[in-house]
């Protein structure tokens, strides 16, 4: 079983997602990057793009972000997005 970590996706107006995930991929300014549990501390700026997260159990969700920041520290990941739009699963 893959280990999990906490992810929160926040915008200035509201908190969009809060919960455990196995994996998250974010659109960094230097290209997409994926994060698993126990990742080293990291801070990066985000470009416009699609964020993909995998919940425990394997269900995936995609969220459109328009830029912002991404931080990982001590198995907590935080996305500070400017605006987000949850994509309908295909």
């Amino acid at each position: 079983m893959a280990s999990e970590f906490q992810l929160s996706i926040l915008t200035p107006e509201q908190s969009v997602f809060e919960g455990p995930v196995e994996y998250v991929q974010v659109p960094g300014t230097e290209g997409y990057l994926g994060v698993l549990a126990n990742h080293a501390a990291l801070v990066t700026a985000l470009a416009e793009g699609t964020l993909t997260l995998r919940k425990p159990g394997g269900a995936e969700e995609q969220v459109r972000v328009s830029g912002g920041f991404f931080e990982v520290s001590e198995n907590r990941a935080t996305v500070l997005a400017d605006t987000v739009r949850v994509e309908v699963a295909r």
Binding site: S8, L10, T11, P12, E13, Q14, S15, G28, T29, E30, L33, A40, A41, L42, V43, T44, A45, G68, F69, E71, S73, E74, T78, L80, D82
Partner: protein
């Protein structure tokens, strides 16, 4: 002694007042719930971006960003967030009083003219008060969006940053009402620009964090967003405070009207009773005389 007719008219008027205040109280309660949700929803982001800013300030070797640099303060802008509408108790009066106090203190403090602090007024009530008294006003924003709007916060932040960067003002303070609970709120003053002014020397970042592309450029991206988030959270707080103040003001107005009603109804009944008794006595007296 007031006549019965005058008394009846008075009762009707008080009754109307009671109905209106009751309706306003309920409307304010409903709006408060929405505004409160919005104000609270804004807090996680604001808290996190503050934490990130602290981390970065500690990590970036050389911070040379115009928004972060404190200058010698010659001109200050005081942003005062009031409401567009009245009937909300002492809500606006408290803000105006605090702002006037701040202005007076500045004049007494440095001996310079009152021009060294200028006002940026958000909301009609603040505008009306300070314009009438000929205070130096830099800008006015009204009407304020009825729901805390990120767009509005962005625009206001941009214009304030513009004034700060151009050197028109060396410091921007933000005065608004912090929402604590439906029953408690407080007028607070915070330094808005330069951004670092209220932050301590920056806490150490998570050990050996990786920055991409690098701490300085993330920092430059972060600063304007931090300012916007802070202003947005303040506006959301101010709106929630306004509705809670109005709810409480209208609630006590309704209660007062109720008490007055009780008193007036009692007086009316007594007067009516007295009139009836008098009439009866007349009839009985008249009948008695005919015997």
């Amino acid at each position: 002694m007031s006549s019965l007719r005058v008394l009846r008219r008075r009762i009707r008027s008080v009754q109307n007042t009671q109905q209106i205040t009751k309706a306003m109280e309920m409307v304010a309660a409903a709006k408060l719930r929405r505004a409160q949700t919005r104000a609270l929803a804004a807090r996680p982001y604001a808290a996190k971006i503050t934490e990130m800013l602290d981390h970065l300030a500690g990590a970036a070797s050389e911070i040379d960003h115009p928004l972060f640099k404190a200058r010698e303060v010659k001109n200050t802008a005081l942003v005062l967030v009031t409401s567009d509408r009245g009937l909300c108790g002492a809500y606006n009066a408290n803000l105006v009083r605090a702002a006037e106090h701040r202005l007076r203190k500045a004049v007494a403090g440095n001996g310079k003219g009152p021009g060294s602090i200028r006002l940026v007024l958000v909301g009609k009530k603040g505008r009306d008060y300070f314009r009438r008294r000929k205070y130096p006003v830099l800008a006015v924003y009204t009407p304020v969006p009825a729901e805390a709007s990120l767009e509005f916060a962005k625009q206001l932040t941009q214009e304030l940053i513009g004034r700060f960067v151009s050197g028109e003002v060396d410091r921007v303070e933000l005065m608004f009402t912090r929402f604590i609970s439906a029953l408690r709120r407080r007028v607070v003053t915070e330094t808005f620009l330069p951004v670092g002014a209220e932050r301590a020397e920056g806490h150490p970042s998570p050990a050996g964090a990786i920055f991409e592309p690098d701490a300085e450029s993330i920092f430059a991206e972060l600063l304007p967003r931090y300012a916007t988030a802070k202003l947005f959270a303040s506006l959301a707080d101010a709106l929630a405070s306004e509705h809670s103040a109005r709810m409480i003001a209208m609630g006590s107005a309704r209660k007062n009207a109720g008490e007055l009603m009780d008193l007036l109804v009692l007086r009316r009944n007594r007067l009516r009773q007295a009139a009836i008794t008098k009439e009866l006595l007349d009839i009985v007296g008249g009948a008695e005389a005919l015997k």
